[in-house]
């Protein structure tokens, strides 16, 4: 047995790890995201109080050893609500991006593969969708569907489908000219199989990178919609909802607005750092650049 004849491992996650290592900042993103994810999962264990428990004796108290981040106008613990709010934010962000990614990529691959008139019509519609500001579109859809968790996810998914159509279409057009796709047609594979089995895995990395960036946007949109009251309804704690409720007392009780805002900021920041790092790791054209 010689070491030399050992087969090279088929998958190459080490390249991603290397790039993550080269850019130390990306570990900050990964660490932060892990922290946020853990606090969402273990919210019931971490939260010092019941997030829904009203305590009129302790309303609008500032940060103290008992209530680390203070209490709101009903005397509910801000830290506990923040931890539980993480669940909603991540759930909405993840599910809406998942839906947008699945639907958008399918449409994008279809448009890119079929081409011609079909492509032009689809891309025309996508351009119309993209010309709306995300928040406005989300507002319209959420207002039409009514405010609930499911509708919020659907509304955000709809606003974010168009970018995924674009992202999936471009690499599909270059992939369909590759010889393995032509070879697939010469072997009698159906168009559906070529799109799903031969094109999709080859363009997945492009899509995943964008997904992490758009998840940040989804979380922002969720917070914005909750802030204007079109999100998950009270008393369920959400970051946007907490800012909305704290807004009335912003001059006297700053902690009500600052801590949820920080939570949103850190989550969006972590996802953006991660998205950039993934893009650098996957895109060979950017390799070697700082």
């Amino acid at each position: 047995m010689t070491v030399v004849s050992e087969p090279i491992p088929a998958r190459k996650p080490n390249v991603v790890l290397q790039t993550l290592n080269r850019n130390r900042l990306s570990w900050v993103g990964v660490g932060l995201l892990a922290l946020i994810l853990l606090s969402a999962i273990f919210a019931p264990l971490l939260a010092p109080h019941d997030p829904l428990q009203q305590n009129i004796l302790h309303r609008l108290e500032g940060p103290s050893p008992e209530f680390w981040l203070g209490t709101d106008s009903y005397g509910r613990d801000v830290l506990s609500r923040l931890l539980y709010g993480t669940r909603v934010s991540l759930l909405v962000g993840f599910l809406s991006v998942l839906i947008a990614m699945t639907v958008g990529s399918a449409i994008g691959i279809f448009a890119g593969y079929v081409g011609g008139m079909v492509d032009q019509v689809i891309m025309g519609l996508v351009d119309v969708m993209l010309s709306f500001p995300t928040l406005l579109l989300g507002l319209m859809v959420a207002a039409m569907l009514g405010a609930s968790l499911e509708n919020l996810i659907i509304a955000i998914a709809i606003t974010e489908t168009a970018p995924f159509v674009r992202i999936a279409r471009a690499p599909t057009i270059s992939a369909k000219r590759k010889e393995y796709v032509e070879a697939g047609r010469a072997l009698g594979f159906s168009p559906l199989r070529i799109m799903g089995v031969h094109i999709l895995p080859n363009i997945l990395s492009d899509i995943v990178v964008v997904a992490s960036l758009w998840m940040a946007s989804a979380i922002r949109t969720e917070a914005s919609l909750s802030f204007i009251g079109l999100g998950v309804q009270p008393p369920t704690p959400t970051w946007g909802g907490m800012i909305r409720e704290g807004f009335e007392n912003i001059l006297s009780s700053w902690w009500l607005v600052v801590f949820p805002s920080l939570a949103i900021l850190l989550t969006v920041l972590a996802l953006n750092i991660l998205g950039d790092a993934l893009r650098d790791a996957i895109d060979p054209k950017l390799k070697g650049e700082s």
Binding site: P7, A10, E179, E182, A183, L187, G188, H198
Partner: protein, 333 residues
């Protein structure tokens, strides 16, 4: 010998600036079982278009088969629907391509890619298909096939990839194999190995092989018959040995003079002046006339493909007025 694949009067047109132009014109080819037919010509002569037309793989928009029949075991492929055609492709007629480096899907293991064809056309289970894939890799002489089927294309060398491509193409035991310059991207020793392999497999399975190439050395090594194409037409067809010994068409002659040979001292090769006319600017008469050293006023008429003078009992045909049998010098305008 009855023909396995019989292409008759095939004309394929491309749309250029709103007008349809013939990329290949009135192409007749017939292929018998256990026969290798080489289609030779410069870039742009229509070799690949002929093969892609036969499998109906041309892009749906901007290309069409204008006339002609593609008879495969008596069935006209030109009349089949895309769905029916998909059943023929990869099963009864397979094709291998020029670039082994990009013809395999980089995200699938080689074993899965071979198995995929078997699962689709033969309805095999994944396990059975993988087992068959292992045997196929063994058959195309890839060493250690048991390990190789679990590897990805990037772990294969160019020659090994082309072998894997051949294994995929031959998985369903097709009756006809279209090979579009399968050895062009390989270095000479690997090229020789792949050619020998293809020849052996053809013999073992009694396949008909259409071998598209611009390399006359390759033709001499493996072809039984040769069709020379120029500017979308077949200009000469003959037995392989006869063509090399007695080229009739001036273009074939020129091609042979432009080829380096080991057995002859050649400090300079003799190029053919000019280049293949584009499909929008083909001359009205003989397409080769502008580049031909023997050109005469009669060459302004478009010649038909016919028997040459001195062909004897062979089916040696050429598309040249000067070389045609006197009594058959029929002109088509």
């Amino acid at each position: 010998m009855t023909a396995l694949l019989d292409i008759r009067g095939l004309t394929t047109e491309f749309r250029v600036n709103g007008h349809w132009h013939a990329a290949i014109q009135d192409v007749n080819l017939s292929l018998a079982a256990n026969e290798t037919l080489a289609v030779v010509g410069e870039s742009g002569s229509g070799k690949s278009v002929t093969a892609l037309s036969a499998l109906r793989l041309l892009p749906q928009a901007g290309a069409r088969i204008a006339r002609g029949e593609i008879l495969f075991e008596g069935r006209d492929l030109a009349k089949l629907s895309q769905r029916q055609m998909a059943k023929v492709r990869g099963d009864e007629i397979a094709m291998i391509f020029q670039e082994p480096m990009t013809s395999l899907n980089p995200t699938m293991t080689v074993g899965d890619q071979i198995a995929e064809v078997l699962m689709i056309h033969r309805g095999m289970s994944h396990g059975a298909a993988l087992k068959e894939a292992r045997d196929l890799l063994d058959e195309v002489r890839v060493p250690d096939p048991g390990r190789r089927i679990t590897e990805y294309p990037h772990q294969f060398s160019g020659g090994m990839r082309q072998r894997a491509m051949i294994a995929i193409a031959l998985a369903c035991r097709p009756k006809v194999l279209l090979a579009d310059e399968p050895t062009t991207a390989l270095d000479v020793t690997v090229q020789h190995q792949v050619l020998t392999l293809l020849d052996d497999l053809k013999r073992e399975r009694g396949m008909g092989v259409i071998f598209i190439t611009h390399n006359l050395g390759v033709v001499a090594q493996i072809a039984d018959r040769v069709a020379v194409m120029y500017a979308g037409e077949i200009v000469e067809t003959a037995d392989c040995t006869r063509l090399f010994a007695n080229p009739a068409h001036p273009y074939t002659e020129a091609l042979l003079r432009a080829m380096p040979r080991v057995d002859r001292r050649a400090d300079t090769l003799e190029p053919i002046p000019g280049s293949v006319p584009s499909i929008t600017a083909r001359p009205a008469g003989c397409h080769f006339a502008p580049r031909c050293g023997y050109v005469r006023p009669e060459c302004g008429h478009h010649p038909a493909l016919g028997p040459i003078s001195g062909a004897g009992g062979s089916d040696h045909q050429a598309r040249c007025i000067l070389r045609a049998k006197a009594e058959e010098a029929a002109w088509t305008v």
